[in-house]
């Protein structure tokens, strides 16, 4: 917890200094090439953007480095698409066989019902599994001081766990949302490492139930703006409980700051008809990094290189279900 953090320890922040012109150039070229190549270029475009944004982030005069390649994202996407196509093919093939060859429409109805029931949980499972795999890929491709980050553990187990928590959240009418979020985050963070050093997140209890329930009740009258209070409180709690050896973290963002940022971003996108996207992107990253404090002596971290090899295929599932830029 933050109370245990010694105030005499040095506090560092990740500096972020991208040039807006360069960011616009990258985004513009990416959009242009994506149009000409019917979207295939986007894997290379996203990589280029990530490389630049990560490279512009610096901690204690040492820049972060992103070593991902467009072809790796493309390969991941093709693999997952192949699996999906095969499943669709199988589905239609079986459907045709049952309907037209075996002439057993009742069996098709049973299959339809089973699939309809399984659809939503499967979707949640795939989304979370994909997000975990994508995060693993991005971490193994990110270095600081020559050392790779990593994420161990099974993406499928995480997907299954997260899916269960989603249903518990629904059944509990949202009361269990903070517990689920913290359990998911701690599972994720406890599997994360910087080279040979493992991150950890342990908390005996949490105080987020009240803010969760109040903001949930106010969500409709405030057009969901109230939830910003919960999300900021959650993030603060998470950061205050993360540890990397003797290094602690703190999240200093306030709900007011977050609301102001969201409104500014919304207005900017509206006024510029979307052309202000690079500015908004820069605004969000900079504000986020300005509010993350890293407490402790970073030079005392003696991380050895991660034993896990870099992934050469990445983000297949996340590439299908949506794209996060960083």
């Amino acid at each position: 917890m933050s109370s245990s953090v010694n105030d005499s320890l040095p506090i560092q922040k990740i500096q972020h200094d991208p040039q807006l012109g360069q960011l616009y150039k990258i985004c513009f070229v990416n959009i242009l090439f994506s149009i000409f190549t019917l979207g295939i270029h986007r894997f290379w475009g996203i990589t280029r953007l990530r490389k630049y944004l990560v490279r512009c982030s610096m901690l204690q005069n040492d820049r972060f480095e992103y070593t991902g390649k467009g072809i790796e994202l493309f390969r991941g996407f093709v693999k997952v698409m192949g699996v999906f196509m095969a499943l669709w093919g199988l589905y239609f093939g079986v459907g045709y066989l049952i309907q037209h060859v075996l002439n057993m429409p009742f069996l098709m109805k049973i299959i339809d019902v089973v699939l309809a029931i399984a659809y939503v949980p499967t979707l949640f499972f795939l989304i979370y599994t994909g997000a975990y795999g994508a995060l693993r890929y991005r971490l193994t491709k990110t270095r600081w001081r020559g050392i790779r980050f990593n994420l161990s553990g099974s993406a499928f187990s995480f997907g299954l766990f997260a899916m269960k928590r989603v249903f518990l959240n629904i059944i509990s009418l949202g009361i269990l949302i903070p517990t689920s979020a913290l359990k998911k985050e701690s599972l994720l963070i406890n599997n994360m490492s910087y080279g040979s050093l493992k991150f950890s997140m342990n908390y005996p209890t949490h105080h987020l139930n009240k803010v969760n329930i109040v903001t949930l009740l106010l969500a409709i009258p405030t057009l969901t703006f109230s939830r910003i209070w919960y999300h900021v409180a959650l993030r603060k709690f998470i950061y205050e409980n993360i540890q990397l050896q003797n290094i602690r973290f703190r999240f200093t963002m306030t709900p007011g700051c977050q609301i102001l940022l969201d409104i500014k971003a919304f207005l900017l996108l509206m006024i510029t008809v979307g052309l202000g996207y690079p500015i908004v992107l820069q605004m969000y990253i900079k504000t986020f990094l300005d509010n993350v404090e890293i407490i402790g002596d970073l030079d005392s971290l003696k991380a050895l290189q991660s034993q896990q090899p870099e992934l050469t295929t990445g983000e297949g599932l996340e590439g299908v279900f949506g794209e996060s830029l960083i």
Binding site: Q19, Q22, I31, F33, S34, I35, F36, T37, L38, G39, I40, H41, R42, W44, G45, I46, R55, C56, D62, R63, E65, T67, G70, I71, F92, G95, Y96, I98, Q99, P105, M108, K109, D112, R143, W144, R145, G146, I147, R148, Y194, G195, V273, G274, L275, Y277, L301, K302, A303, L304, Q305, G322, E323
Partner: protein, 369 residues
Amino acid sequence: MNKTAKFYDGKSSISFSVQINPDIHGIFVKGLGSKTSEYYQYSDLKIIELPVNSLPGVIASIANSDVRLLIEDPSLFSMIQSKIKMKSSKFSSLWISGMLLAMTTFICLILLYKLPYNYSHLIAEAIPQSWEDKFGEYGAKVLTTDYVTCTNDLGQKALEKLVRDLVNAGEVPVPVTIKVFDDDSTNNAFAMSGNQIFVFSGLIKNSDDYDELAGVLAHEIGHVLKRHPTERMIHGLGLSFLIKMISGGIGQLDSLLTTSSLFLTLHYSRAHETEADDVAIQILTKTGIGTKGFLTFFDKLEAEQTEKLKKFHKASKKLEGFLSTHPLTEDRINHIKNQSVKPNVPRKRILTKVEWAQIKAMCQTKISS
């Protein structure tokens, strides 16, 4: 020439401040903790990042991909850079560009010439009838909340008799249902998934005899027979998936592509209309109704459209042909005239005058949702 740089050996996070001394074949790196120096040949080095403004240039070892050398001095970096072979990266970018170009051409060709017609047709064929019925059931449910359905028993029976004859002539393998919506201002009909045809009362009102209505119904049966409603739904889903893939979540690009895809959809829709017209001609010929009534319907439609377009320039008609979901009425009339053959069965009345009158009076009894 000794210069300072920052060095990471890739084994630990410890940074070494090193002296580098380049020669003809490579660079000496001195000051690596316990090691006195290390030598890296230029052929073993690759550029990771070029120096930009205050950012140092980054060089990595090919043999040990974790090693990083960070050089802040731009002149030193460009000197080393000139010695490091850039051939492989140039080749790689050339290869990627070529591959992208080839794939783009391939996809464009498929997309523009083959795919829109074939893939949705193949998928529509594979969709089980029970699914199609469910789509149709849902669509009909939505429609019946928006429109009042005409339910005159005698009129409905006469209409079903006409549809039955047309369906038999078209050898449609599934039963076709028909409903009339009370809307005198709409002179049209449409087909929906689940072998359903919906007729607006305006079409019945504007038809002087049943053969005009039969022409439009035969056209809609053509859509049913070719499974066009389901095919169009799949085509739309396929296009939106393709758009999502291309735009990658970038909102503006998404909107731009959605608008562009509209033209592809319109072209696709016009192809379906022509196909349904061809089926209608066959059905009308086979039943002995003939295409005269069908042509009369189009003549009336043409007159109606001409009246509406009178105030616009003639050029707008060309644009209409390009932007419309249906081919130009004038073109359709010519097409029907060209395709029509003399009926091999004598022209006969399928409906009696009384039955036609019953259809005409259909909307005197209605149910509202």
